[in-house]
Subunit: 138 residues, 2 copies
DNA sequence: TCTTGACTTAGACAAAGTCTAATGTAGGAT
DNA sequence: ATCCTACATTAGACTTTGTCTAAGTCAAGA
């Protein structure tokens, strides 16, 4: 994700300290922070950053396709920087931990055309649920 | 879902006008209302019903397994009375319409054990996304 | 019919996110 | 190098969605 800032600049982004810090917080694999967590971590480096800017920047990253929004439950959305690798999520029903997983096969193919009701189906999101090793041990 | 009230009474539910009205609103296929919509429709028949009661009743129906909670996006949860038939959802990316669909095959089998990270995987939720006929026509 | 514990209510509260008007600034123009 | 201005940021009010509490109400069994 280190070339993210370059890609964004190429698309006309004005490069500000705030945007740089938000992008840096999201850098790394298997990171799925809420907007509030991103704000807290960004504020460690740039204390005056506002919540609105974090929300704006996350929204921009999502609409540019650089980051995925994940709504695992009815709670806060989480942001997944691993947008360039197709993957799905495995969520612990007890503690909410998320792992990226890579199922086999063409997931879209599982939906017969008789079940598509005239929709132009373009994407599929899969969430596996279960207990993580820590929670099932308890 | 017409025998729902009987099932609930059998499980010790006290049968009140409020609960009856909420259950009636949810009755019907392919209905996916938000809590607020359920409240509005319930209030047409029982004007003094409170939001808290609607939330309580929906929560009870969910924990009894009679209704499913669906978080299609980061917005309000929707309630799906079709809980007794395994199904997944097809959501219009533009207008948010939801259809119930029934994919083929064993969806859980798509996740190899090497990708389970020690989780006891017990459920899978699939959301297909695309444009509905109305929105793709525009 | 009486009683009681379960149910409902209004409204305060909380969490997550959006919006606005005022202010600041990145980066091209000069 | 500096200036300019459209784009970006800020604080905080506001909205939406959902939860909680204390007081009042009622379904259903005794």
């Amino acid at each position: 994700m280190s070339d993210l800032l370059e890609r964004l600049r190429g698309r006309g982004w004005r490069l500000t300290a705030q945007r740089r810090v938000v992008a840096e917080v999201l850098d790394g694999d298997h990171v799925h922070y809420t907007a509030d967590e991103v704000h807290a971590k960004a504020a460690e480096r740039l204390p005056e950053i506002s919540r609105a800017t974090v929300y704006n920047t996350l929204g921009e990253l999502v609409s540019l396709g650089e980051v995925l929004e994940v709504s695992t439950d009815g709670r806060a959305k989480r942001y997944d920087p691993n947008a360039h690798h197709a993957h799905q999520h495995l969520v612990c029903s007890r503690c909410g931990t998320i792992r990226d997983v890579h199922p086999e096969g063409d997931l879209l193919a599982g939906l017969p055309s008789a079940e598509r009701f005239g929709f132009q189906v373009s994407a599929v999101e899969v969430t596996y649920r279960g207990l993580c090793p820590d929670c099932s041990a308890g």
